[in-house]
């Protein structure tokens, strides 16, 4: 029984990390129709920047901010200088983000070498909570709390704020939104920055659980894709549900079938594509 509870909590924690990763991807994809293939690289870059900030003597929370800020600024620059020139050509935009992903990944390898680096737990979160006979790491519960807070914040932003109304309008009908006087160019940059900030912060937050290593980017990017395909493109609720499903499968799979854990992660995607190609809560991928 304890096994199921502990692995369930682990799945919840991993799913929470995936949600932080996939939410940014889904926001960008939903609004701009850009499948940002650099998203995994942003996540890894955020983690490395966080690590550098810790090495420089900053505390964990400032490291999270640093990772988020650096990646957010980078995202804004990429959107303004590169994606902007290719607007209206989604395929070209995707290919450019793939090129950027390679540049970032190799740059990280160059700057921080190839050794996996553990990230220390933030002070105050090192221990475990005990619930009867079950012990569970504090930090993982904290990550779950962050993801829930993020989900609520994003929901408020999208459903209750003016910016959110503009984003929703853009997702529904970009041309109409533009005609109504929404400055979509500014909106694109804002959303791309926001998505990048989430990836950067997510990278640092994931550090104590996953540690940081070259290849983290290409491990995480397919998971973000799977979550988005599973949940439905452009749907945050879908991303949330998809993240939890993948998180649980990963956790139980890792414990029960370690050889094939990575592969069975993709089973729900295969199943959903067969039964409901648009994803659980999405419209058709186009």
């Amino acid at each position: 029984m304890n096994f199921w509870i502990i692995q369930g909590l682990n799945g919840l924690a991993f799913g929470s990390l995936l949600f932080i990763l996939a939410a940014g991807f889904s926001l960008i994809f939903g609004l701009m129709r850009v499948a940002n293939l650099a998203h995994g690289a942003y996540f890894m870059l955020g983690a490395y920047v966080g690590l550098a900030a810790l090495d420089a003597g900053l505390n964990f929370w400032l490291a999270v901010l640093a990772g988020a800020a650096v990646v957010g600024v980078l995202g804004g620059i990429v959107e303004r200088l590169v994606l902007r020139r290719l607007s209206g050509k989604p395929l070209a935009q995707v290919l450019v983000t793939l090129g950027i992903a390679f540049i970032i990944a190799d740059g990280c390898l160059w700057l921080w070498s190839g050794d996996p680096r553990p990230v220390p737990m933030p002070p105050g979160f090192e221990g475990v909570y005990r619930f009867g006979s079950v012990a569970f790491p504090k930090y993982r519960l904290f990550v779950v709390a962050v993801a829930v807070a993020l989900a609520v914040a994003l929901w408020l932003l999208l459903e209750r704020s003016r910016l959110g109304a503009m984003i929703r309008a853009g997702v529904d009908d970009m041309d109409m939104a533009r005609a109504m006087g929404i400055r979509t160019s500014l909106l694109f940059t804002t959303v791309f920055c926001l998505g990048s900030v989430l990836a950067g912060a997510g990278g640092v937050l994931a550090g104590p659980i996953l540690s940081v290593y070259p290849g983290l980017d290409s491990d995480m990017l397919p998971l973000a894709l799977v979550v988005v395909i599973l949940g439905g493109a452009g749907s945050l609720t879908g991303a949330f549900i998809g993240s939890l499903i993948i998180g649980f499968i990963y956790s139980y799979g890792q414990a029960l079938l370690p050889d094939l854990a990575y592969v069975i992660l993709f089973l729900p995607m295969v199943l959903v594509l067969t039964l409901r190609p648009s994803g659980l809560l999405g419209r058709r991928l186009a």
């Binding site: 590169v82 989604p90 190799d106 290409s218 397919p222 493109a233 190609p277 186009a286």
Partner: protein, 330 residues
């Protein structure tokens, strides 16, 4: 019609004489690598250029065929011919399955799904250690000696690759010129109209996907016999992306584009790796530069420039409008 055939014959004869001209095994091997990569890029180009289906998982077929043939031949004790059949049969089934799944979406969805499916295979190769050897890969494949020809020699192996390359080029060219290939281009440009005309769009795309996958498998066979070794790297996203870069750099939707692209990327890789270790970064930069500045690819791009130049040379001051290039982006 006779001019293209004459050109093709001249190209094949020129390529066949190439080893004698360059004389060093290193460069003959590089030429073999370029031809193998060209086969993979040409098969991907069927999807990207002619079908408007941008796949980011095309290394899957090369890698799967390479793993299957090495496993069957060097580890399970099958002969070379049986190994070849197992590898191609396995690749065929894989392409049938992946095509069924990926073609449930179009455009960016197709790209994302092929990427994810490709990563499944990479994960399988990396983690299923008892079958694939994990990170250490699979080796032990010996090149055969058909009719007493020693394929261990760089030059004779190159000639084998050249024969297969010529067959692949012919098969892919015939495919694109055939009514079926034309209907594939129709599904790229006007899927709705094709559907209204009674074409089964998804079936056309699926058959093309499987056909492209099998040619990817042929590239994988040659890859396996060339390296006599395969590791998860052959299945990695970087390999798929590199192949896509070859197609896009050379010119998607042209017959010679992928070959030019493969030559460009592999020469760049081999030359650059002498001077810089940051090959992946360079790959990324080349990607960004090509997409930003030569989006139609080098073959159509150079053709356009040379047309402009010759037009200017013939009739000064006459401005030639740029030809409309096919837009396969959305």
């Amino acid at each position: 019609m006779s001019r293209p055939i004459a050109l093709a014959l001249a190209a094949v004869i020129g390529l066949a004489l190439l080893p004698a001209a360059i004389g060093s095994d290193y460069y003959v091997n590089l030429a073999s690598q370029i031809l193998i990569a060209s086969i993979l890029a040409m098969s991907l180009n069927l999807l990207v250029g002619f079908g408007g289906l941008t796949s980011l998982g095309h290394a899957a077929y090369m890698g799967a065929a390479a793993y299957l043939t090495i496993y069957a031949t060097a580890h399970a004790g099958f002969g070379h011919l049986a190994g070849l059949c197992i590898a191609l049969g396995g690749t065929l089934l894989l392409a049938m399955l992946f095509g069924y799944l990926a073609l449930r979406a179009t455009g960016l969805g197709f790209l994302m799904i092929t990427l994810a499916l490709g990563q499944i295979l990479w994960g399988l190769a990396f983690r299923w250690v008892s079958f694939t050897g994990g990170d250490n890969g699979l080796g032990g494949l010996k090149r055969p000696q058909p009719f007493g020809i020693d394929l261990a020699q760089a030059t004779s192996f190159y000639h084998l690759v050249l024969i297969v390359f010529a067959l692949a080029f012919l098969a892919i060219a015939c495919f694109t010129r055939s009514p079926f290939g034309q209907s594939l281009a129709g599904t790229r440009d006007q899927p709705r109209r094709m559907r209204a005309l009674g074409y089964n769009v998804s079936l056309i795309q699926w058959i093309s996907f499987v056909y492209a996958g099998v040619w990817g498998g042929v590239a994988g066979l040659l890859y396996a016999y060339y390296h006599q070794f395969v590791s998860p790297q052959a299945l990695h996203l970087t390999t798929s992306a590199e192949t896509l870069l070859m197609v896009i750099a050379g010119g998607a939707g042209t017959l010679t584009g992928p070959v030019v692209g493969a030559a460009l990327v592999l020469i760049l890789k081999n030359v650059a790796s002498v001077y810089v270790t940051r090959w992946v970064m360079l790959l990324g930069v080349v990607f960004v530069v090509i997409v930003l500045f030569v989006p139609e690819g080098l073959v159509p791009g150079v053709a356009r420039w040379s047309r402009r130049l010759t037009a200017r040379w013939r009739r000064p001051a006459a401005s030639v409008p740029a030809p409309l290039t096919a837009e396969h982006n959305s």
